[in-house]
Symmetry: C2
């Protein structure tokens, strides 16, 4: 029995994981707590409610944005309430008595796919999440790539267009600026898409317009496929994964992205990789993927 | 005692390596042999001449372009005489009775820097060779990154400019098309450099012109620094190395490349990597680096 905790910008979800399945769930708001300590108190309470004294969990895995696995610290995450470093793994251990591991949410998702999902059995794997941001996690030689300071695996912040679009990281031309939700909305806008469509938030509105034959919306997905294909092909040239798993809302819009992406990806690959890299969508249940991934952090 | 063999397009160099030093050397032409078998015969002869019966070598490491370490085969290398797959490791084992390992020349160079050179002691390392081509080798978690099919580490063939310059690989916009010798010569030409300068082969002619104040030549190195900085920063975002070692003729031209590169590299890095990645030139003696690297293949 392992506890998996996924800390998001607005809500935190946790679950009790037994042999790769989420058998019980809880959630609490991430925001609105007086301090990081108060949040840790609430989180420890929720953990207690998920567990019984008969069978206490052997570990807690926590996935969070800007979390550094090597230090166990959430480092000044721009999308979380605390503007300072938070030693959340240690804070939770002290409150629950259960060993806790903290890791980057994208790395957690990669581990989840690798242990329980579409990446099972791959010695070399790449997982990419397409959402508000573009996250990634790399498995190389059956190990998660953390890098010398614990912050490797930032494919979303590789430069895809020199002097290109402004990115939230302060630099220009990052993959994230083109294929995140914000990126797709910007592309649709630049293609003179219908402003009415963009009144709805997120990317589902563009997907719906595309399904109704909106030319700018269809083009938006084709452009995204082209940029993403280059980013993925560049990653393949570095670590040579046998499979790439795509995860998140944008990848979930059926064939709108996947059909042009498969075509562009094949064109973008160096010939020695042709036919050697699978490109698949996540196979994990939406609601459980992040929890399973966080739980997988404890199995490293 | 290990034998290191570096197979180049025109000549093959081999050396006897004792505790990280090349203590004896031989060379033979790569071209002009009747067949791959005849070449293997000549190579086995040269190995015999380097060794004594008193202290036979314990292994042979062979670095070659397009060599696949997982299969022990040189796969249709465009710059080598044989237009078919050559099982060189096995061919040499049969002739010498010494266990032989074949590996990609760039991976060999990375191992050489890691075991004996500027990358010693790094858990996570990137080595980039700048020459006729742009090769690279990645060390992650104290292991060489081979990828699922043995062909990882091709930073030279990551796309740096979408729809950019034609590359010898048949694709467009690869880093190699911008920062190899050919790339620098093309940049100098595009900047309306002096055609007289380019009558000399290689890149030393442009370096000499730059040292004499030739504006196009100086700009050529600044442009190369900018493209290379983006390529290196992208690699850092993926594997998070603590050090990058640059190797080869272009990197050796003193500060012409390194000064603008350090500046551009800092600007290109995502903020979480600032101050966390060393950028250094190779510390291995020019003539021995490839032999030491090939020898290091046997220590995997």
């Amino acid at each position: 029995m392992i506890i998996g905790i996924d800390i998001g910008g607005t809500s935190t979800k946790l679950g009790l994981v037994d042999q790769g399945k989420v058998v019980a769930r809880k959630s609490l708001p991430t925001t609105g707590h007086a301090s990081a300590d108060a949040f840790a108190d609430a989180l420890a309470d929720a953990v207690g409610q998920l567990t019984t004294d008969n069978e206490p969990p052997t570990g807690i895995g926590i996935g969070a944005p800007n979390a550094n696995q090597l230090t166990g610290i959430i480092e000044m995450a721009p999308n979380l309430p605390w503007k300072h470093d938070v030693q959340l793994a240690r804070m939770l251990e002290l409150r629950t008595g259960i060993p806790a591991v903290l890791g980057n949410d994208a790395n957690a998702a990669a581990l989840g796919e690798w242990r329980y999902g579409a990446g099972k059995g791959c010695k070399d794997l790449l997982m990419v999440t397409l959402g508000t941001g573009v996250g990634s996690g790399f498995i190389v030689n059956d190990q998660l790539v953390l890098g010398s300071h614990g912050n490797a695996g930032e494919l979303g912040h590789t430069t895809i267009v020199i002097d290109g679009r402004d990115c939230t990281c302060g630099r220009k031309g990052c993959l994230e600026a083109y294929v995140s939700i914000r990126g797709l909305r910007q592309t649709y806008s630049e293609l003179d898409g219908d402003p009415e469509v963009l009144k709805e938030e997120g990317v589902l509105c563009i997907a719906k317009a595309a399904q109704q034959g909106d030319t700018a919306a269809l083009q938006t997905f084709r452009h995204a496929a082209r940029w993403l294909a280059v980013g993925l092909a560049n990653a393949v040239a570095v670590t040579g994964p046998e499979r790439i798993v795509l995860f998140g809302g944008i990848a979930r819009n059926g064939e709108l992205l996947m059909a042009p992406l498969r075509e562009r990806f094949r064109q973008s690959l160096l010939n020695i990789y042709h036919g050697r890299v699978d490109l698949v969508a996540s196979a994990l249940p939406d609601n459980d993927a992040a929890i399973l991934g966080a739980a997988a952090l404890t199995t490293l």
